[in-house]
């Protein structure tokens, strides 16, 4: 097994990545209840700092929109990305996986679930792991 690293600290709930059912963690303002992802310190609605609690985000959502990059800065192509809307009312920018050929399988409003995977590779060969969404398997 090659080396791996998560691209940003504190993104996943501790241990959830290893369990195979990753969970993303965001911030929830203790005053107004607004949810933010990734986590942040200031709630601009309330102008409070460090008054956030942590919140586990839903693992399922709907594709708001997507595209398939055939040319891009990553070391491979094509790759698919877009936005997923979560029931919490926030949207997350993400890669899509397990749905090739993308042109045929990806659809707006399709139900997807959180997974994880390699986004890119560092110069020393370390795989950089981030979140991805994949179609919900029927049944």
């Amino acid at each position: 097994m090659g080396k791996k690293r998560i691209f940003k600290e504190g993104i996943f709930k501790e241990g959830s990545l290893e369990s195979g059912n990753p969970i993303l963690v965001g911030s929830k303002c203790k005053s107004c209840g607004q949810i933010y992802f990734p986590k942040k310190r200031v709630c601009p609605k309330c102008m409070t700092i460090d008054e956030m609690g942590e919140v586990e985000l839903s693992r399922r959502g709907k594709i708001y929109s997507y595209t398939i990059a055939h040319v891009g800065p990553l070391e491979y192509a094509p790759y698919a990305f877009g936005f997923v809307e979560l029931p919490e009312g926030i949207s997350i920018f993400t890669h899509f996986t397990d749905c090739e050929p993308f042109e045929k399988k990806l659809k707006i409003d399709m139900e997807v679930e959180l997974t994880s995977g390699k986004i890119t590779t560092d110069e020393d060969g370390t795989e950089v792991i981030g979140w991805k969404f994949r179609p919900v398997k029927e049944g």
Partner: protein
């Protein structure tokens, strides 16, 4: 606030110039042409503003304005670099307008400049991700074609906009560019050619995307009293607005709220309505972008931008002449130069000097420029309205 006028404009041909001219030579040519057009000498210019991005390719960014303006003798006065991605020189133009309107200066030189070619496309796309949220979107390989690919798919889903309607924007703008001596791609393209061009970001093909270009554009602006001394046909700045994105947690990518807000304020400031606009240079970095902007600027109802193109309502001398210069798609998009290049086109059109692409009887023109994108929203949007 004092009335301010554009008294001179000039630009280089846009194109692919990997070796020469460089940043200094392109800036020199644009500034010289604008100053000659305005009939001003270096001693008349009291300040300079330069829009340049240069996140890409190690081209000259800092000091580019000073070095280019020095070539034409504009030195020693305050010179300010403005950087707002693809809206850098539209921002510079507005800053210059503020300085003259506020009474600080009477004559100011504005330059937009960019040197982009010479890098492999993949490297250029990577450099351009500086204009997004680098930590997340940049890391995941989000590209600007990809941003507009997402917008296109959603617009198609919500409003039934078609691939063909998008391709027609490219066909129209390439046609307009054949009449523009400054255009990067003054070549007709057929609908089939656009539809069959190599896929870049689904559903957008290569000819749905603006090219990577080099070029520079300049303008000289002046206060009312001074403008009349220099210019026979000064063009009045009726409005110059700027907004930033709100990047809301909940998305709506089929409208750029940033454009809607910048346009509303501009129409109010200029005391005009969308129906009064004879021509508009809008930020058509991708075909779907022009459709979106035409709706958001109030020329057509939301969702009807695709149909408007299909019915020919955006062609020269139709309902509203959109991108008579050929736009970013065909005139080219040297990012830092684009904002002022749009101003050049408006001025030529309003003076009746636009040759075979002239919009008949043009009296009011609008320029719309956007820079940087994150979370489905624009970073900066400038709307400028000029009148004869």
């Amino acid at each position: 606030m004092r009335d301010v006028y554009v008294i001179g404009v000039g630009m280089t041909k846009f194109g692919n110039f990997p070796i020469r001219p460089g940043v200094k030579e392109m800036g020199e040519e644009a500034c010289f042409k604008a100053m000659k057009d305005a009939n001003v000498y270096p001693k008349d210019v009291e300040a300079g503003y330069c829009g340049v991005v240069a996140g890409a390719g190690g081209a000259q960014g800092p000091l580019a304005g000073n070095l280019a303006m020095k070539q034409v003798g504009v030195a020693g006065v305050p010179i300010t670099r403005c950087e707002n991605g693809c809206a850098s020189s539209s921002t510079a133009f507005r800053e210059a307008w503020i300085s003259v309107a506020a009474g600080l200066y009477d004559v100011v030189l504005v330059l937009g400049i960019e040197k982009m070619t010479g890098l492999p496309t993949r490297e250029m796309l990577k450099a351009m991700t500086q204009g997004s949220d680098l930590e997340i979107e940049g890391f995941m390989g989000m590209t600007f074609p990809g941003v507009f690919g997402m917008i296109a798919n959603r617009h198609m889903k919500e409003y039934g906009t078609t691939r063909e309607q998008m391709a027609m924007v490219s066909v129209k703008n390439h046609h307009n560019a054949t009449m523009n001596p400054h255009a990067h791609y003054p070549k007709e393209v057929s609908l089939e050619k656009v539809l069959n061009s190599p896929m870049i970001a689904y559903p957008l093909g290569l000819l749905d995307c603006c090219p990577i270009s080099d070029g520079a554009a300049a303008a000289v602006i002046a206060s009312k009293d001074v403008a009349k001394k220099f210019a026979d046909t000064p063009i009045k700045i009726l409005a110059a607005t700027q907004k930033s994105g709100t990047f809301l947690e909940k998305l709506n990518i089929t409208t750029f709220d940033i454009t809607v807000r910048a346009a509303k304020e501009a129409y109010r400031m200029a005391k005009v309505e969308p129906k009064d606009i004879d021509l508009a240079e809008v930020h058509d970095c991708f075909t779907i972008a022009e459709i979106l902007h035409n709706e958001d600027l109030g020329f057509f109802k939301k969702g009807e931008g695709g149909k408007a193109v299909e019915e020919g309502e955006t062609q020269i001398n139709a309902k509203v002449s959109i991108n008579p210069s050929g736009g970013l798609l065909a005139k080219g998009h040297p990012v830092g130069a684009t904002g002022v290049a749009q101003i050049c086109e408006l001025v030529w059109q309003l003076r009746g000097e636009a040759g075979t692409r002239q919009v008949d009887g043009a009296e009011i023109g609008l320029a719309h420029c956007m820079g940087n994108f994150s979370h489905g929203d624009g970073g900066t949007c400038n709307v400028t309205i000029l009148g004869r």
